[in-house]
Amino acid sequence: MNYSEKVMDHFNNPRNVGEIENASGVGTVGNAKCGDIMRIYLDIDEDTKIVKDCKFKTFGCGAAVATSSMATELVKGKTIYEALEVTNKAVMEALDGLPPVKVHCSLLAEEAIHAALWDYAEKHHITIEGLKKPKTDISDED
């Protein structure tokens, strides 16, 4: 497998696997083309808007698991506005890159975070500047 050491580390020891009961926001996205599905749970502080906790579950390839893991790490401790900046590029860079055919897997992570934020925003009737309504299937993008 052409994965970097960081990817393999996050694949073998995924951080933050699991779910959050009564999460502030939950996002699930899939890529119909490769069949993979990712779900992100966010626990957000009402006042500070800081992501106190973040967990994931992923049905997917090695890259999907590793990007989920890395994405949760990157999002934790950030405000919801900063969490928006956790792009797939940032996740990939943090993982020392992905093979070209696996770039789309990192998009799944970005979209799952956005979906969870959207869910939070809807539940709390707020708008988060710059957040667009996420798609449930991202395969048309690649």
Partner: protein, 395 residues
Amino acid sequence: MSKLIYLDNAATTSVKPEVFEAMKPYYLENYSNPSSVYSFAGEAKKAMEDARKVIADSLGAAATEIYFTGGGSESDNWVLKGVAEAYQSKGKHIITSKIEHHAILHTCEYLEKHGYEVTYLDVDENGLVTPEEVEKAIRPDTILISIMFANNEIGTIEPIAEIGKVAHEHGVLFHTDAVQAYAHVPINVQEMNIDMLSASGHKFHGPKGIGFLYMSNKVKIGPLIHGGSQERSRRAGTHNVPGIVGMAKAAELAHANMDQTIAKETALRDHLIERLEKEIPYCRLNGDRVKRLPNNVNFCFRFIEGESLLILLDQNGICASSGSACTSGSLDPSHVLLAIGLPHEIAHGSLRLTLSEDNTMEEMDFVADQAKKIVERLRSMSPLYDDFVKQQKEQ
């Protein structure tokens, strides 16, 4: 467990030491071109013709009906394009199945772009093509029926003799891609009504880069590779003598021990299937349980994805595959699993374990143990499994 457990013999096999020894002199000593006229070349030529005889005998064919090629893909391409061109005055319709190897399917797509019509037969949930379906698809302009002997992913063995019979009753040529079956199960081209058969050396402990096409003397097609007058002017290119000799040695060894090999592999296979079925919930054996290659195990485990499974098996020294090696670059789920009716998300979680006689029962047990643990671990991470468990509770 530091030893490698190689369970990807459908992708390729190790070269047997005897095969390597047989090839060796044709690299270092008798390196001549068998088409040359001096006596030094006589040794290479004789070795090549002996090899041809070995292969012909193993199939019940004549030596003049064996053509050496660069591998299974070349043989498949040659048959389809060759028949398409040579028999176009009779018609432009070809019948094949939805579960063929890409060497057949992509060549058919190429022919479709060139004005040919191809019927891709459905298979049942075990991957079987029925002779009745074949018969129904035959038209007056059908020039070729090409159905694989055994499937490379799910191991299903097709009713070749019966399909061949139907083909011949309708005067249509019959080809079978036997890349996974040749030298693994007994084949007789006469009794099975086979006009053309593709095989590839590296799938039965011979070398890579060599294969053959059996083609009955009644078939008249032109070359895929034009040039010199090798292979009676039907396949140009300097003969790969070491490859030819090695492939024939591998064929000879395989046929000499076929009964024992089949018995041993079947026992290993069935033990592994039994353990996996019993110990891992929500799994499905793909392919026919009985009409099955003795070395093929193929499972889908619901709620998990194939690549992650493979990586974790790999970390435990187990070489396995999901789908076939040559499509590993692609993200699409296996066309074979879709053809047997699996939904996309399940087709993504398949595991193919293909044994050889070199494997042991201990290895099978180790693999079953590992697979069980890994599937559990991946399911604990899977949102699909979560949803499923919750649904179950609600009911």
